[in-house]
Structure formats: structure tokens, C-alpha cells
């Protein structure tokens, strides 16, 4: 893939690849999708524009912490995900903006199902990505996850990467 031939389909394929990596628990490949200064944030429910110095986020990861998140989840002692739950990440309503500028913005709705011990939790919301081209490859500069839930009930937790 090179700069001149980048199409909307390339961006969509990139997103689907991320979803597949997460669903297949190939989590060591996930941080590698980010730039060195990449971020992964989940703002508080109902307050997507919150200020992280005034409000509690659900996650507010720099590149180092999102790496730790992925590594942790692969350990047997990440009890909540051992044995691994089954997840399905679905991305829909994908809108790609400014394909030909330095930073490509992508918005999509998501539905993520998680099943474990005969219980299913469903997370819904909107992802906003900032993507850049690095050495001819797409990378995530930021991924912001806005959950469209009133509260984390009955889920009780977010133990997987949204």
C-alpha cells in the first residue's frame, strides 16, 4: 500500500483487521497497530468531551499503557479473561474523512459482544480513529471509544479491548 493508492477500502480493511486481531486474541499484534505516540481512550459515560484532569475516564492509555493492557490480558493471572471470553467486534457505518491529508479521520459505530460462563455482555458506541501513514502502512494515532451506555450495568467491567 502506498500513499498515492490509498482508498477508502484500505481504511476499512485496516479496521476489520484490528477487529479480527482482537477477536482472535492475537493481542500482541494490537499495540503494533499504533504509532509510538498513539493513544487509546474511553471517556466517562455520557461525557465524551470530558477533561481527564476533572473527570474519571474508563481508560486513558498512552502507547506504553496500551501495550501493558494487551500484555496483561494474555496472562493466565488476568483472571477475568481466563479462560478467554469469546468476543465479536462488529464495526458499522464507517465514515472516512480527509483520505488525502496527513491525518485520516474515521468514525464508525461498534457493537461488541462478550460471552463467558453463559452470560453475554454487549457494548455499543462509536469509535473515532485518527490514522496516519507510516512507511506506507496505516497506523493508529488515536482511538477514542465513546460508549453509548447509561452505565456499565449489567456489564460491571470492561475486561477486554473495545
Amino acid at each position: 500500500m502506498t500513499v498515492t493508492t490509498l482508498t477508502r477500502q484500505d481504511v476499512v480493511d485496516f479496521l476489520y483487521t484490528e477487529a479480527k486481531i482482537l477477536d482472535e486474541w492475537r493481542l500482541m499484534e494490537w499495540p503494533a497497530l499504533f504509532t509510538d505516540d498513539g493513544t487509546y481512550t474511553v471517556p466517562p459515560l455520557g461525557d465524551p468531551e470530558a477533561d481527564p484532569t476533572k473527570s474519571l475516564f474508563i481508560s486513558h492509555d498512552n502507547r506504553a499503557r496500551l501495550q501493558e493492557r494487551a500484555e496483561r490480558l494474555l496472562k493466565k493471572e488476568a483472571h477475568v479473561e481466563y479462560p478467554h471470553s469469546t468476543t465479536v467486534h462488529n464495526y458499522n457505518n464507517i465514515l472516512v474523512s480527509n483520505l488525502d491529508s496527513d491525518v485520516i479521520t474515521v468514525e464508525c459505530n461498534f457493537t461488541i459482544h462478550r460471552t463467558k460462563r453463559e452470560v453475554m455482555d454487549t457494548f455499543i458506541g462509536k469509535h473515532t480513529y485518527e490514522l496516519v501513514l507510516q512507511n506506507g502502512e496505516l497506523k493508529i494515532k488515536s482511538k477514542k471509544v465513546v460508549l453509548h451506555l447509561d452505565s456499565l450495568r449489567p456489564h460491571g467491567k470492561i475486561s477486554l479491548i473495545l
Binding site: G46, L56, F57, H60, H79, P154
Partner: protein
């Protein structure tokens, strides 16, 4: 079953009958004897800082409005219309002088007084002379250093008396700021598919720290090799009225004021300055306690104040024996500098948040307990004896004295009601 605990000091054995986690009748009794009679945390006074600020709260199974009325008073109004009952405030929070019920458009001042109703001519002149058509307020609302509690029992002892010697520990939390603490936005509302009492235990259970949270400590140790030398050491203390605390040395960075190598050097210098200021204010010993020790406090029945890598207040209410609703607050010094606040909030999210590296594993542990209580017929008792062999007053933070204190209070309240019923039955 009328013996819910077995407390055998001679044998150093303390047992809790597992039926208390699964039995519906027990939940009804808890509602009547515990949640209707104890002081319950409703929120922090900084959540409603300005006149007219309000928040909806669910406390002890009620729908309340936590409001700072125009007269400056903090009130807890029952969020239900005196007319036909509709929920009056539908927004989760806001600022308003009046609340208006949309059903027939009655309106109320933010102290609850009825001030408007369409079609007045259909009602007598002195319709609300006795105030019976005002929004009803919880009679007992008291505040300790910003922590506001309600009590649905009008005859309850004062909050001050109820907190008793637990105040010493709340003071240590609040005194880390010269200007007081404030509640941050983004209260975390989640749930656990387990009995509420399991979270009261878990929040003051240092014994589970290493095995349950190994992945968190792996990350912290990679950031700070020195950490390997710090053991989770300290004491467990039983306090008045079923409250309890563990106080132990901090094996992680504390935003007031213990530095850790992932934070930059500027922060280190700031923290040293903070520490000096604390010592000026309180003396070396208390300053050391504030900065370098952690406190996990449980205020009976369902408030936990953890002053650990950040400060959290948590409440949790049962909706059924196997399900609780949790609200987690973050408290921080008013006017804290941005870099410190970010260090604090990163700490909070990593450990305490429902999307962090620790809380989901607690959640899992509690759910596994609850799931296995379907064996209660045959396997009846939980063991909470750790540290009893050391004798009274010698408990370590990793012992279970704090839980035994919770259970003794729990048992006393439940037994009292059972005894009363027996007396009535015998008459």
C-alpha cells in the same frame, strides 16, 4: 438457620454461613434492619457546590435528589411527585431553582415547596397549608468533612457518634489537602453479579492482593524494581459500630506525597515540597502517615473509602442476593495541579477503575464465589479466621479482623430483629 456466624475465639475460628449470600428473606431483613437504619453515604458536598445544583442518587433503594437548595442547605428530597407519584427530576444532574413534574405540571422550589399548579381553582384555598403537598425530604441528613450521609431512621444516633473512632481515619484522608477534597466528574457506575457483602469484604482484604492482582504488581514492578522490597505490611483495626480499617505501607506511588520512578523529576521535587508542608502542618509522624501509608476503610454497611494509589469512595447496593449496583467516586485535593492530577487519575484508572488492571479481577473473584454458592446445601461455611491466632489487637493488615468486625455488627443487627420476632411469637 438462626446462627449466621460462628465466632470461636478459643479455637481461633470464625465462620460465616453462606446462606446470607443467597437467601431472599435475608435480603429483606437486611433492607429493614441495615439499610433502613444505618447512615448511608449519598455523595460528597462538592458534587453540588453551587446553589441549585442537584444530582439524582439511588440510596438504600430510594430515588433521591441530592440538592443544594437556594437557602444554601443540602437536602435529600424523595424524587417523587406528591400528586400522583411521577419521578420529578429526569436529568441525572443539573442546576435549577425549581423542579417541575411533567405529568400535570406541578412545580416545586428546590427545597421541595409546592409553588405552582395549573387549574388552581379546582383546589381549596388552603390546599397545601400543612405542607403535605411539598416534595418530601429525608429528615436526617448529616455531613462529616464533606461526606454527606442520610439515614431513613428518624431516631438514629448522630452521624458523628455513628462514625465514632472511624473519624480518625477519614481525617487522615481529608487532611492530605489544605483546601479539602473534591469529587471529580465521571462517577463510575457498574455492577457485580455477586452479593453486596462480598464487596465490603473485598475492599478491606489485603490477603487477596498478590494472588488476585499479580498482573498489576507485575506492571508496577517493571516500572520500579525497588518495589520488590516493599511488602504489604501494616495493621488491621476494628472500629466502632462495625467499621474497620487496614493501614499499611504503600507499595506504589501516592499523589500525596510518595514519588515513583515512572513520574518525572519535577513531580519528585513537588512531592518533597508537599511532604515538608505536611510536616509543618501536622508534624513528622502524621505527615508520614498521610503520605506513605494506605488506608482502606469500610464504614458499615456499604461505604468504602480507600486511600491507596488514589482516593475512592464506593457504595454498593443489592438489587437481588446475587447482584449489586456499585458507584465509585474519585476524590482529589481541591485545586490540585494538573500534572499531579494526571498522575493521580492514571493511578486510579489502572487499579480502581472498572476498565483497569485490577478491579475486573476482583469482580471475577466475587462472581466466582457467588456462582459456587449453589453448593450451599452441602458446603455451608466461609472461613474468616486469618489472624485470630495472633490475639486481639495484633492483627496484620493481611489478616481478616476487619471482616470479622463487619460480620459481628451484621450478625448483631440481624439477631436483634430475629429475637424481637421470637418474643412477639411467644407472647
Amino acid at each position: 438457620m438462626d446462627q449466621f456466624i460462628r465466632d470461636n475465639v478459643e479455637k481461633s475460628e470464625f465462620l460465616v454461613n453462606r446462606s446470607v449470600f443467597t437467601d431472599r428473606e435475608m435480603l429483606a431483613r437486611e433492607r429493614a434492619e441495615i439499610f433502613n437504619k444505618c447512615w448511608l453515604f449519598i455523595g460528597h458536598d462538592t458534587e453540588i457546590a453551587e446553589l441549585g445544583d442537584y444530582k439524582r442518587k439511588k440510596v438504600g433503594g430510594r430515588n433521591l435528589l441530592f440538592v443544594r437548595s437556594q437557602d444554601g442547605e443540602i437536602r435529600a428530597l424523595f424524587n417523587t411527585c406528591p400528586h400522583r407519584g411521577a419521578l420529578i427530576a429526569r436529568e441525572n444532574e443539573g442546576n435549577s431553582r425549581v423542579f417541575r413534574c411533567f405529568y400535570h405540571a406541578w412545580s416545586f422550589k428546590n427545597d421541595g415547596e409546592l409553588v405552582g399548579m395549573p387549574g388552581k381553582d379546582g383546589f381549596p384555598e388552603d390546599f397545601n397549608a400543612e405542607g403535605t403537598k411539598n416534595m418530601k425530604a429525608v429528615k436526617r441528613v448529616e455531613n462529616y468533612r464533606g461526606f454527606v450521609f442520610v439515614n431513613f431512621d428518624e431516631d438514629a444516633i448522630s452521624l458523628d457518634e455513628y462514625l465514632g473512632n472511624a473519624k480518625e481515619y477519614i481525617d487522615l484522608v481529608v487532611d492530605q489537602s489544605e483546601y479539602g477534597l473534591e469529587a471529580q466528574g465521571g462517577v463510575q457506575e457498574y455492577s457485580v453479579r455477586a452479593n453486596w457483602k462480598l464487596l465490603a469484604e473485598n475492599s478491606v482484604d489485603l490477603y487477596h492482593g498478590m494472588p488476585t492482582h499479580k498482573t498489576y504488581f507485575d506492571i508496577k514492578q517493571a516500572q520500579d524494581p525497588e518495589l520488590k522490597n516493599v511488602k504489604l505490611e501494616g495493621e488491621g483495626v476494628e472500629l466502632d459500630n462495625g467499621h474497620a480499617v487496614i493501614e499499611y505501607i504503600a507499595p506504589w506511588g501516592r499523589p500525596v506525597a510518595q514519588w515513583t520512578p515512572i513520574w518525572d523529576d519535577e513531580l519528585k521535587q513537588d512531592m518533597e515540597r508537599m511532604k515538608v508542608k505536611l510536616a509543618d502542618r501536622y508534624g513528622e509522624e502524621r505527615a508520614d502517615r498521610i503520605a506513605n501509608y494506605n488506608r482502606n476503610i469500610v464504614i458499615f454497611p456499604n461505604l468504602v473509602i480507600n486511600d491507596i494509589m488514589a482516593v475512592t469512595a464506593r457504595t454498593f447496593y443489592p438489587t437481588s442476593p446475587g447482584y449489586m449496583e456499585v458507584s465509585g467516586y474519585s476524590l482529589a485535593p481541591k485545586g490540585e495541579e494538573e500534572t499531579h492530577r494526571m498522575a493521580r487519575n492514571d493511578n486510579f484508572l489502572e487499579f480502581l477503575g472498572p476498565g483497569g488492571f485490577a478491579t475486573p479481577d476482583d469482580n471475577e473473584a466475587l462472581e466466582l464465589c457467588q456462582e459456587a454458592y449453589n453448593n450451599n446445601e452441602e458446603v455451608e461455611w466461609n472461613d474468616i479466621s486469618k489472624g485470630m491466632v495472633r490475639g486481639a489487637g495484633n492483627a496484620m493488615a493481611t489478616d481478616e479482623v476487619q471482616m470479622r468486625n463487619f460480620w459481628r455488627q451484621y450478625n448483631a443487627r440481624i439477631q436483634e430483629s430475629l429475637n424481637k420476632e421470637k418474643e412477639v411469637a411467644q407472647r
